[in-house]
Structures are given as structure tokens and as C-alpha cells.
């Protein structure tokens, strides 16, 4: 049976009903001041940690490669630079000294990490950044060293636009070959989505870095800074593509390609979300004026406003763009986020039309709202699906945001702004679980 996102009834039943309990709650008169200490205490309660998991193993050899290239590039820039323009010479010397210090510090922090079995799952020293962070940092160091060398060569007239264009063209060809050979294989459909979404993101970055902008100056000596930046872009494209190749080696070479399953899932979710969007059209178009009563200045107004904003943020056209760019895995995630956002809006609208949440909550009710939101988010994170972790991320953001509003003031407006966000987080977390199940189901059945 096809899974559905939770309806209002499902949401209320599962929620344990903090909101139902709030119906007709004793209201504080609008404009009342709250006790700042109590609000602060509510605001400072813990926020659930998002559960991010890097989708690939980063080997020590990948990090070493960028480090070695960084050092080799840096060694080609002299410590003492002689140029007619003393300001340019001095700037290159200063840049080199600063980068050299950074490289030495980073190398010292990496000391003794030559074990090639290092992975994201391995235990690290407490002070050591995780391998994917270090890979990112060393790639950045390599790009900075390349930019500096490019700047130096531009200042000494040793680089021209043709060299750079040829290098860019070669990487563009290599990227095309990579894409042509890309199969959406994976150990299972869920892992396939997250790994290939990551690779798609890397390929997008490579494409962006290959855009020939800004223009190369008439003479390299006219603007060494821009030439250095252009060289850095090319090297960023090159090193990102190299890392993507290494990551793809971790994807099974044989077995099912999940490309059709991903396409089917994204399309199904897109159509379901489109239907929901049509049903909610007047609320999306006209805002809170569409309700059967005036909700201005109530927590319901904020609750709806947040839900509407997020639903509009995940637009149908963005999703169509992702599908059109053949970013199948990205399309699945985007479609899931959009489906979650619209289903959440649907439950929020139904609740408000049912008369919920018209009055400003008391301090105790506010505390309960936040606790219910945290509990719902935590329960979603405790599930074993990465889709749940991904789709619930906006809810975590709104608990954090709502808490900040409480620190901003003690007026009923501040409390309403916080309450609306906590209520949204709870509704959203429950929908995230339902949509994650739906995505898993669709991927599995479409792949069979």
C-alpha cells in the first residue's frame, strides 16, 4: 500500500496533542509581559543535534595528495620577490609567508596520520578534525597555493590566457567523461541517494569553477590578482573532480542502477506535492487572510506564516530544474523536502481552520510546546533512516530560531513568534518521518 504523508488526524493523534491541549487554553491578555528569567530558561533548553553523516570514506592518501600538491606549489613561489611594482612584490611575499605558516600549522596537526585505513568511521584524536574536514581544508590550501603561484606568474608575465583556457577545456572534457560513465549504483537505494547527491553537488561545483569569469586581463601583469583567482578556480575544479573520482571508486562497480528508481520517486513526490499545492492555493496566494476568522497577531498567524514560507521556498520549478539537470539524487532529496513542507502546511491549515492556537500561550504552555517539538524531532532522529535525518533538519532550525525569539523580549509578540515556530517544528518533524517512509517505499518498489 502506498504510504501517505500524515493527515491532520494522524498528526494530532501521533502528537500526543500538545496543540489539542492548547485549544481554548487560558489566555494571557495580549501585551502582557512575561518573566524574562523563565523565558530564558525555556530558550536555553537543549536543541537536538542534527545527525549528519558524511556519505564517503576519506582515505589518508586523499588528504596527503592535496598536502603534497600544496607544498609543491608553494615552493615555486620565491620567499623574496623582485618586481618593478614594489607593492605587488610585497603583497606576494606577505601572502606567501601567511600561507606557509598555515600549511606548517596544518601539517603539524596532521602529524603521524599516515595510516591509509583512516576513515570517517575511525576513532580520531580528540583534537583532530574529522577526515572530511581535513580533506576540505587541504583542498582549500592547495587552491590558495595555486592562486598565489598564478598571481606570481602573472606578475612576472609567465602565464597567458591560452594556457588557462586549455587547462579549463581539459578539465571540462574530463568532467563530461565522468558524467557519461556515471551509474547510480549503490549498496542500497538509501545510500545510493546520499552518495550520488554528494557527487552531483561536487560536479556542480566543478562546472561552476570552469565558468570563464572574470575575464583574463589584456596583459597578465595588468592584474595579477585576477589571474591568480582564475588559476585558483581551475585548480579547485581539478581537485574537486579528482576527489569525486576517488569517492566514486567506493560505489559498487556492478549491480542495480538506481537512476530509474530515483527518477520515478522524484516524479511521484513532485506530483503529490503539486496536488497538495493546488488544494492549498488560496492560502499560499493570499496568506492568513484566507482563514475563516481573523488570526492576526495570534500564534496561529506565526505558525501558518512559517509553514507558508517554507512551502514556497521549496518550489516546483526548482525541483523541475534539478530533474532537468539530470541530478536524479538531488531531485529525490528536494522532492522529499518539498513534499514535507507542503504536507506540513496542509496539517497546519487544517488545525487553524479547526480553531487551534488562537491565543497567546502561558509560560507553562510555551514550555510544553517546546518540549513537544524537541520530543518529536528527537523521535524522528532516533529512527534509522537518513531520509528522516535530512527531512527533519528545518524543524531543528525552527526550534533554535524560536528560542532566539524568546531571548529577544518578553512581550506577547515575542512569545507568539517562538510558539509558532515550536509548533511548526513539531508538525514538521512528524511529516518528515512520514515522507521518509514514503521515499524509502517508493525507491524500493521502483527498484524491484
Amino acid at each position: 500500500m502506498m504510504h501517505r504523508a500524515l493527515t491532520r488526524r494522524g498528526a494530532v493523534a501521533a502528537a500526543g496533542t500538545t496543540l489539542a491541549a492548547l485549544a481554548g487554553c487560558s489566555a494571557l491578555s495580549m501585551g502582557s509581559e512575561y518573566d524574562q528569567r523563565q523565558l530564558r530558561e525555556i530558550a536555553e533548553q537543549p536543541v537536538p543535534d542534527s545527525s549528519y553523516s558524511y556519505p564517503f570514506t576519506v582515505s589518508a592518501s586523499m588528504i596527503d595528495f592535496h598536502r603534497e600538491r600544496t607544498v609543491a606549489l608553494l615552493e615555486q613561489v620565491p620567499e623574496s620577490v623582485s618586481l618593478p611594482n614594489a607593492a605587488t612584490a610585497s603583497e606576494i611575499e606577505n601572502d606567501r609567508a601567511a600561507l606557509s605558516d598555515r600549511v606548517e600549522t596544518a601539517s603539524a596537526e596532521d602529524g603521524g596520520q599516515d595510516d591509509d585505513s583512516e576513515s570517517e568511521n575511525a576513532e580520531n584524536d580528540d583534537d583532530q578534525a574529522p577526515p572530511h574536514r581535513r580533506l576540505f581544508e587541504w583542498r582549500r590550501n592547495r587552491v590558495d597555493a595555486a592562486s598565489l603561484l598564478g598571481k606570481y606568474r602573472a606578475a612576472t608575465g609567465e602565464i597567458d590566457r591560452t594556457t588557462l583556457r586549455q587547462r579549463r577545456d581539459a578539465i571540462r572534457s574530463a568532467r563530461s567523461e565522468f558524467v557519461a560513465a556515471h551509474e547510480y549504483r549503490g549498496i542500497d537505494p538509501e545510500r545510493a541517494v546520499f552518495q550520488h547527491q554528494f557527487l552531483e553537488g561536487m560536479l556542480r561545483n566543478v562546472g561552476r569553477e570552469l565558468e570563464p569569469y572574470p575575464p583574463f586581463p589584456d596583459e597578465s601583469t595588468d592584474d595579477p590578482e585576477t589571474v591568480g583567482y582564475l588559476v585558483g578556480k581551475v585548480v579547485r575544479a581539478e581537485s574537486t573532480l579528482a576527489d569525486a573520482r576517488r569517492f566514486r571508486e567506493q560505489v559498487p562497480a556492478e549491480g542495480t542502477s538506481y537512476r530509474p528508481a530515483m527518477m520515478a520517486t522524484a516524479t511521484w513526490l513532485r506530483r503529490r506535492a503539486r496536488l497538495t499545492e493546488t488544494e492549498l492555493e488560496r492560502y499560499l496566494e493570499n496568506g492568513s487572510g484566507s482563514f475563516g476568522r481573523d488570526v492576526t497577531g495570534t500564534p496561529a498567524d506565526v505558525w501558518f506564516g512559517v509553514a507558508r514560507d517554507i512551502a514556497r521556498e521549496h518550489s516546483n520549478s526548482d525541483l523541475i530544474d534539478a530533474i532537468g539537470e539530470s541530478s536524479y539524487a538531488t531531485a529525490v532529496i528536494e522532492a522529499g523536502l518539498r513534499r514535507t513542507a507542503l504536507s506540513t502546511l496542509q496539517t497546519v491549515v487544517e488545525e487553524i481552520e479547526g480553531g487551534q492556537f488562537d491565543e497567546t500561550p502561558s509560560t507553562d504552555e510555551l514550555r510544553s510546546l517546546r518540549e513537544a517539538a524537541v520530543e518529536a524531532v528527537q523521535s524522528t532522529l532516533d529512527g534509522d533512516s537518513r531520509f528522516e535525518d535530512r527531512f527533519v533538519e528545518p524543524a531543528i532550525g525552527h526550534i533554535r530560531d524560536g528560542s532566539k525569539r524568546l531571548e529577544a523580549g518578553t512581550s506577547s509578540e515575542s512569545v507568539n513568534r517562538a510558539a509558532g515556530r515550536f509548533a511548526y517544528a513539531e508538525s514538521q518533524a512528524r511529516q518528515a518521518t512520514a515522507v521518509a517512509e514514503e521515499v524509502e517505499y517508493l525507491l524500493t518498489t521502483a527498484a524491484d
Binding site: P84, N85, A86, A87, T226
Partner: protein
């Protein structure tokens, strides 16, 4: 001996007072709540004169005021107050630029600024507001193969010829940007050093 305007420009006219636009403020006529309408001015022309060993020009009524504020030259008579110290080809080119101005339809904004030797100043934009002009100057590094020293400053004269008689605008406002945004856009070679 310093050259006078007559030496440099040739033609002499009776000395007259330099009529600085901006003497008459039209500010009272504008409505304070209205957002001023601004339009980019694109058909301006620029000449510069750089001096490593002195001032590019002298202005007889110079009161040592803020170098952000330009002189506004609105007539041939206004040119009489300008004198040049070094009669070389660069100075002649700059002086000719001033002299060739048709003050019936144009006026000239004249800046005198100090600039580090390894940099140059460009005119980034000119905007017209009701009764006023707004100028943005920007700074960029000289090419790497141009000989220059750090810690040394040159004197720079910048003349901007704008397509309005000086009685059509109040005193211009000037802002200085430490970087030229146009650096990353289409490249121009219109401006001098």
C-alpha cells in the same frame, strides 16, 4: 619659473572670479520625504595629471579644503584661476582637455588628490540627482611591470567633464572606494594613469 595659465593655455581672458557652482542651494525646493531620483551619467570624459615632484596645478583661491570636494569649472573665466608648474607634454594634454570644454553645455569637476605611488585612481561612476551630482572614485594597483615604490605618494589631478552647465547642479558629493568594482567587468582603457 612657474608657467601661468596664459603660458600653458595660450589664450588669455580677463581674470575673473571663479564661479563655483553650488553657491546657490536649491535644497529648499525639494521635498524631504521624496527619494531622490538618480540617473547614471555615462557620457562624461576624464583626464588625469600625475606629479611625483609637486602639485599638478594651483588654484589661486585655494583654501586647502577637503580633497574630496572638487572645484567646479563652469566658464572660460574659471580657468584663469588655474596655473600649472611644469610645462611638459602631459601638462599640456591635461590643460588642453580643460580648455576644449564647451562651457555652454558642459562643466568640469576638478579634483586634486594624493595617491600612493603603486596605485592609480579611476572614476567609477557619476550619478545625477536633482540639483546635484554624485561621483565615486576608486583605487586600483598599477600593473606589476610598472616601476613604483611603496611608502611614496604622488599628487594627482583628475578632471571630469560632465554634460551639464554648472548652474544645473549643486556642489557634487564624492565617495571614495578602495577597490574598483569594474575590475571584474568589461575592461576599459579610457582612463589615464
Amino acid at each position: 619659473m612657474p608657467s601661468t595659465r596664459r603660458d600653458i593655455l595660450g589664450a588669455a581672458a580677463g581674470l575673473s572670479s571663479l564661479a563655483l557652482a553650488g553657491c546657490q542651494s536649491l535644497q529648499d525646493e525639494s521635498t524631504p520625504t521624496e527619494m531622490p531620483q538618480t540617473d547614471p551619467v555615462t557620457d562624461y570624459a576624464v583626464a588625469t595629471l600625475r606629479r611625483t615632484d609637486g602639485t599638478p596645478y594651483r588654484y589661486s583661491s585655494d583654501d586647502g579644503s577637503d580633497e574630496r570636494q572638487p572645484l567646479v569649472l563652469g566658464s572660460n573665466d574659471d580657468l584663469d584661476a588655474i596655473t600649472f608648474e611644469s610645462p611638459d607634454s602631459e601638462t599640456e594634454r591635461f590643460a588642453s582637455f580643460l580648455q576644449e570644454t564647451d562651457f555652454q553645455h558642459w562643466s568640469v569637476l576638478l579634483y586634486q588628490r594624493q595617491i600612493r605611488q603603486c596605485y592609480r585612481q579611476r572614476v567609477e561612476s557619476v550619478w545625477r540627482r536633482p540639483e546635484s551630482l554624485s561621483v565615486t572614485l576608486c583605487r586600483e594597483r598599477l600593473p606589476a611591470d610598472r616601476e613604483c615604490e611603496t611608502g611614496t605618494r604622488d599628487e594627482l589631478g583628475i578632471a571630469i567633464r560632465v554634460p551639464f552647465p554648472s548652474d544645473q547642479f549643486d556642489r557634487p558629493s564624492t565617495s571614495i572606494s578602495s577597490e574598483c568594482a569594474a575590475r571584474l567587468g568589461p575592461r576599459e582603457t579610457a582612463e589615464g594613469q
